[in-house]
Symmetry: C2
């Protein structure tokens, strides 16, 4: 009834949870801030969060080839080539052709690549400590459990 007198009810439900209280929104904001913390730390080593992300999915066995990494990290194959080039030149990964399908490059970590993950884990531990200090043991454990479950979504190809 476009009478001009109608009260506007549809556009703003009114009973919805505001954006800033949405868990998905909060995860996004916190994640972006933490990513910037990681980026700042990694800069000294000439690395970015994407480099570490690639090392992680390889180390975890979530991605065997560059194509796997591209899909899992939601970045273009050409970008993966650049990151992999950099990681290989820094002796953090090795590429070898898959003898069963010579189009594929099978990726694996070097000892130095594992060491980078270890050093990054040390830095992450300092961030974790700051989070834990804020949350206390109960909320901290609740967060850990929830995050463990949610990570499953990403590793299942979603």
């Amino acid at each position: 009834m476009n009478s001009g007198y109608s009260i506007d009810v549809a556009p703003t439900p009114g009973n919805r949870r505001p954006l800033y209280e949405s868990p998905a929104f909060r995860l996004t904001v916190l994640g972006i801030h933490l990513a910037s913390d990681f980026a700042e730390h990694l800069q000294a080593a000439g690395l970015t969060p994407k480099h570490v992300g690639m090392l992680t999915v390889i180390e975890q066995g979530l991605a065997r080839t560059q194509d796997d990494v591209a899909r899992l990290m939601r970045v273009s194959p050409s970008m993966i080539v650049r990151i992999a080039d950099h990681l290989e030149q820094s002796d953090l990964i090795v590429r070898r052709r898959d003898p069963e399908n010579r189009r594929k490059h099978v990726l694996s970590l070097t000892a130095q690549g594992k060491a980078v993950l270890g050093k990054t884990a040390d830095f992450a531990a300092t961030l974790d400590a700051a989070l834990a200090a804020r949350l206390g043991p109960d909320l901290g454990q609740g967060l850990d459990q929830a995050l463990a479950v949610l990570m499953g979504r990403l590793t299942e190809g979603q």
Copy 2:
């Protein structure tokens, strides 16, 4: 004792939590993925997560001027100008000079700006539902509580 026979103990503590189990790392990974979900959704409206972030900090009263927004969102003032220009041209915010200090631009949302936040909240609710479905009520509530506490860190100027 650089004897050559020494066992390597310092570089790899061994008892540290691996990176992929770090809450900070997991928050980063999940946040980046969710940010890409938001970005994909907002694209149709010609907006980015940064636009919505700016609308949110204004609406929440966390930032009164462009300078406030720049510090809170950790982006350069010049970037804020671009985002604010876009938001103003789209009639989502208004700038007015602060009469007490004419260098400052006081920012506020228009009705349309608030509507954008509302529509984004609707989309966030769909992401929230997916998260909740994975977590179940107990873990879901634990996550909500922890995130609420952690958001405080950002709004306190940290």
